[in-house]
Symmetry: C2
Subunit: 333 residues, 2 copies
């Protein structure tokens, strides 16, 4: 049987939480690379919360996925055919090739890596966009200093697990927030955070207990009730790294936020960022530093691997509900 391409398209824009019917799975012919193109077979697809934004046509930092187009996403795979010098079959490459098995891409959109340094899927997580997000956000905004208290929401997730471990390396007291006892145990026992709060419990009381000296750096992945509990506990000169607010992505109208007088009174810095603005030119420095920490046993990670591209929509729907445990990747069959 000849190989076919498998693609997942955006069929319609979700109203609230995405459902299976918002996606369409199609089998098509394997595309043939034109001159100047490389044919890539993806082995892993990264599923990330930002994709919810791309499904909407609300104004955002990036254009939405068009209806009927392949869903966007980062992938790791190998070159299977190439008309381009410098790329040969068997080369391991990263790039944003979308929710599909095969794609023809221009070399400017390919990033060749040494596949032997770490498991391939890690280059979509701890060594990929989520890891770089953690590294850049701490470097540019969080700026954690030894002895400070750092709180990380979605602590067991792709970005959160890296944020907390880097903050530990920097000498901070690190408190995670995650959903459920199993994730909390992983955050403290495996990742080595000092404490982890279950957001299904009493957030206020748990934060008071875990952060007796208040909060100096808050890594925001979540929004909603977690943000409301954290905000009044920020210390003077605190930094809020606004990376995402997944708890509100499916909201059809925005909830009110905190009164900003506290930003004046406490001299807070509340700052958003998008890794693609300034991150990728710093990727080599990031990758080198991360591989060093891994080699020294100071940095670990957990993945939640879903088998089969056809399962990407249901896995993504689960991601928005916190059903995954660790960085969510799809192993493409």
């Amino acid at each position: 049987m000849a190989e076919t391409n498998l693609q997942i398209l955006l069929r319609r824009r979700p109203n609230g939480p995405p459902v299976a019917e918002d996606f369409e799975i199609v089998e098509t012919a394997v595309p043939q690379p034109k001159a100047g193109e490389v044919l890539v077979k993806a082995h892993y697809l990264s599923l990330d919360p930002y994709m919810r934004g791309r499904m909407s046509d609300a104004k955002s930092y990036s254009a939405p996925v068009a209806l009927g187009a392949v869903m966007e996403g980062q992938t790791a795979g190998e070159v299977v055919a190439s008309t381009v010098e410098g790329f040969a079959p068997g080369d391991i490459v990263l790039g944003g090739f979308g929710w599909q098995r095969f794609s023809c891409v221009a070399p400017g959109r390919l990033f060749k890596i040494d596949g032997g340094e770490a498991p391939l899927s890690a280059s979509l997580g701890v060594l990929g966009m989520p890891g770089l997000t953690a590294w850049v956000g701490l470097e540019d905004i969080g700026q954690p200093k030894a002895g400070e208290t750092v709180v990380v929401s979605a602590a067991s997730g792709a970005v959160g697990q890296v944020v907390g471990q880097i903050a530990k390396i920097r000498g901070c007291k690190v408190v995670g927030i995650a959903g459920g006892a199993k994730k909390c145990e992983f955050v403290t026992e495996t990742l080595g955070f000092d404490a982890c709060i279950d957001h299904r419990g009493d957030l206020q009381a748990q934060l008071d207990a875990a952060c007796p000296n208040g909060i100096d750096v808050y890594w925001e992945n979540v929004g909603g009730a977690v943000q409301r509990a954290v905000f009044p506990r920020m210390n003077d000169h605190g930094r809020m790294v606004m990376c995402g607010m997944i708890a509100e992505y499916n909201d059809t109208s925005p909830a009110p936020g905190p009164n900003l007088m506290a930003a004046v009174r406490k001299r807070l810095r509340i700052q958003g960022f998008i890794v693609s603005d300034t991150g990728w030119p710093r990727y080599p420095q990031f990758r080198q530093e991360m591989l060093g920490w891994m080699a020294a046993g100071r940095l670990t990670w957990r993945e939640d691997v879903v088998e089969g591209l056809r399962n990407a929509p249901s896995a993504f729907i689960g991601l928005l509900k916190g059903a995954n445990f660790g960085k969510l990747v799809v192993k493409i069959d």
Copy 2:
């Protein structure tokens, strides 16, 4: 008749807007300087919105004024007696001597200036704490670049008038927000802002008309409805310099603020600061730059001078309602 001291004390903490009965005016004997002290006679007292915070015992960046104590405030005056080398009668000095005519102070709290460079009262406004606030906040947070749109609330006030003029010097398009046609005319005609919006009118429509390219830097002095109108108009990578929120100082419970998802999506930087944290060591550099702009005719200012220390409470009550026009100072009789 021998001179007496006049002092204004905090009699009780306001509940909502301050009223005359919250203050007490007392006549006392002129204090005698002890060894190591300087006796200062104040000529001008600065009245500033932050003083509302000092009247409350809510947690803030600075301890409240104690009940029965002299109200805090910056003053400009002259040395009338000194036991300290380096200070002689007739020296012109600045310092936080409070709402009183005479005070005995240690030299560490005195700042001697060349009184001939500018009118004395200017050292409480454009060349004083409010001017330094404008300069530091733009330098550290606002960072206006030529061609950007800068919106300044309370534009005719002590800080706002300096913010906008510096932003003009930096090559920005500057839009003020002020209360009433007279203030708006002053902001455009005298201060040279490109436009000024009357916050008593339709803020949304006026902002759309004055800022067709959105807002890159917002200087927040006001909060409330002005903040709600500005926030959704911030551009990607916009900076909100959180200096104060005078419209909410008398609120007994905080109003909700903006949903912070926009901070992620637009990569906003929302940051508060207090000039006393880092400003004063930079005062000489600030003063030199400001005097240069004044000499070149690029920087002007307006004061609202109230005659007589006994009128300070009513003038301060008016300040919180926007009744002043320009930097509010009290000329001490």
